[in-house]
């Protein structure tokens, strides 16, 4: 028996006892209310917590966005209607942030859009490749997994810092460049490189997370399908495209949706790494919101709330689009 299964047994024995104990009231409930009652029961704890600690604040946030001033509590804040939205959306030309009343907001929006695109693409690909490789029988499996997962264990601030030290003018990276006989690079003060660094570091930090999701998905694909494909004389790439990828689709969808959402919310590590610079070239939405709402000593929480609501709207549309497309393309 594999060690994992015996480890599993240690965990499951008390769990089974618990199952028996909990089943008494719960099956009574089922008899009383039928399947609908059970559905409600399964959903209740999560949805209750979710409602109180996510939905209610969200609604408050929406109300926030229609109020002004620096006060923190809704009851102390004056109504300003759609002023904040008007301010954010006041633009001569939406493609040119300079023509907007709040140019920082639009700079943040366009930076974020670019960041999301590159980060999600690069990271999904890297996570997929890594998951495929880790799914092979390798000597020291656990070690390799740990290697790629390791950065996920670090807090974003630490991630930002490590890389800042590596990439700064006289950091480790340039030390290596010089050793290799290359010109040092202004990783963090060149507009393009800083953006690349923000994408790269974020991929570095979160890739392990998505790799693990994909790995779990790969493990769930029945082996006999690969065997059938092998008997069909299928070349590896085709197996990948025609068997692995379609069957991995639900997990890939999780990865894409989550990474997209998280990319839009990029903050801590980029903030520590580049602070949004050089200039404003890596200033993203959350930084904008954070600065307007908290960091600026004269804060404007209403404006920040309005910006966050706009951001959430965009995200919802993006996600729906993605779910719709993936459903249409036939993945379950």
């Amino acid at each position: 028996m594999r060690p994992a299964t015996s480890a599993g047994a240690v965990v499951t024995a008390p769990l089974r006892w618990l199952a028996r104990a909990t089943d008494v009231p719960l099956s009574a409930w089922q008899r009383l209310t039928g399947q609908r009652g059970m559905i409600a029961l399964f959903l209740l704890p999560n949805m209750a917590i979710f409602g109180i600690f996510v939905l209610v604040p969200l609604v408050i946030n929406l109300l926030y966005s229609t109020t002004g001033g620096t006060e923190f509590f809704l009851s102390d804040r004056p109504q300003v209607g759609a002023d904040h939205y008007a301010r954010l959306l006041d633009c001569g030309n939406y493609l040119d942030p300079n023509s907007c009343r709040d140019d920082m907001f639009w700079i943040a929006v366009s930076n974020t859009a670019r960041f999301v695109f590159f980060q999600v693409a690069v990271m999904t690909l890297a996570a997929l490749i890594t998951a495929l490789i880790l799914n092979r029988a390798l000597p020291g499996k656990g070690f390799w997994r740990a290697v790629f997962f390791f950065p996920v264990l670090l807090s974003p601030v630490v991630v930002g810092l490590i890389w800042k030290w590596i990439l700064q003018r006289q950091g480790l990276a340039n030390l290596f460049m010089v050793e290799l006989g290359l010109e040092p690079v202004n990783w963090l003060t060149d507009r393009l490189w800083a953006f690349v660094a923000a994408v790269g570091v974020s991929v570095w930090a979160h890739m392990g997370f998505y790799t693990l999701i994909l790995l779990a998905g790969l493990q769930a694909i029945p082996r006999d399908l690969y065997e059938a494909a092998e008997m069909d004389g299928t070349r590896p790439f085709r197996v990948f495209w025609r068997i692995t990828l379609p069957l991995l689709m639900p997990n890939l969808l999780v990865v894409i949706v989550l990474s997209l959402i998280r990319a839009v919310q990029i903050f801590d590590e980029a903030y520590v790494l580049t602070g949004g610079g050089p200039g404003t070239s890596t200033m993203f939405m959350t930084q904008y919101i954070y600065e307007v709402g908290f960091a600026n000593l004269l804060r404007n929480p209403g404006l920040a709330a309005a910006a966050s609501i706009l951001m959430a709207c965009v995200l919802i549309v993006l996600t729906l689009l993605q779910l719709y497309l993936s459903r249409r393309s036939g993945a379950k």
Binding site: T70, D76, P78, V80, Q168, T189, G279, L298
Partner: protein, 402 residues
Amino acid sequence: GEVRMMWYSDGIEGEVMQDLLNRFMEENPDINVTLDNVAYQVIMEQLPIQLASGEGPDIARVTNLKEQAEHWLDLTDYVEDPEYWRTNFGDQFDWMRPDDSDIIPGFMTQLTLTGGFANATLFEQAGVAMPGEGATWEEWVEAATQVQESQQTAGAFSIDRSGHRITGPMISYGANLVGEDGKPAPLDDAAKAFITQLVQWTDEGKNLRDVWVSAAGTTYIPGADEFINANIPLYYSGSWQIANLSTKIGDAFDWVAIGSPCGDAGCTGLPGGAALVGIKYTQNPEDVGKVMDFLAREDIVKEFSERTLFLPAHKGVVEAGGLNFQTEDPSAKAALEAFVGFTGTIMPEANAMPAWRYANAVYGGMVNRISQAMAGEMAVEDIFARIDSDIAEQVAAADQTK
């Protein structure tokens, strides 16, 4: 009873404070003071929320003094000798109490003053003489540039990326940031002149690009590490850096505090500091008063300053002089003494800034745009209008009340 003090540290002051509190508790066994060491971020971002909802600690060390003045406890009735307080700390009470009020909100645990530091060893190696007292910004930058060229340093000088740091120089140039209505005035020519000059110095590679360009928004970035590593001969920051420079530079080179270079209107640094205040929502103001009394005692203030290498705000302590800062480092000792002296050169406009509600809006508004100009995203002429409108929007939004 129970007293909670929210405290942040830049160095060892948390340890010193704990030590002092332990002594206090020995003297007053009936009062238990808990020191909650927190990140500065908590003081800046979380404490305001707590205060707004009428919660929070009993005592806090804060820097955003004026903005939150309504939450401070008036200690007048709880301290033994209000007069002692007014005499020794009175000069800064206006920084931390609502306009037109005469409460005793607390006292400054440290005074700070912006000012420059020079790498004496680099100057000496380059054979460049350090400009003397009264030298202008241009002269200092010119001298530093010569050092830069001779010693091949990465830059000639650096100023921390902070609106607070460039405000002193701007005032020295003659800028007036406060309008007649007490609200921020549009940038005047002197302000524009300094900003233009600073951006130009950056473009020329004199002002080390990395510090200002490596962030957007109002993020604070210090240039201390560049100075510590002898990448720049001249560094403009403030008195609080002394302990930091001392530990990290060690014996690597000699450095001196040079005060603030001059402009047309003067040679001022900008004062500031952190205050220890009582919080209005405390359950036992008497105990708070006792703690505050203890910490404000002349000998305690002196000991605190000497051990933490902070400039004291206690008039008695300052006037008595003879502070024996506890450091082995002659550079640090000299710098501390020098800064005590520089307090005399503060211009009244600079002295008014800490008590001005909109100072922070102005600082933030400038930093963001200036760094955009330095990064080449905007021409320097174009940023002035943006700075003015940014500040105006912020002020307008902040002034909305119910």
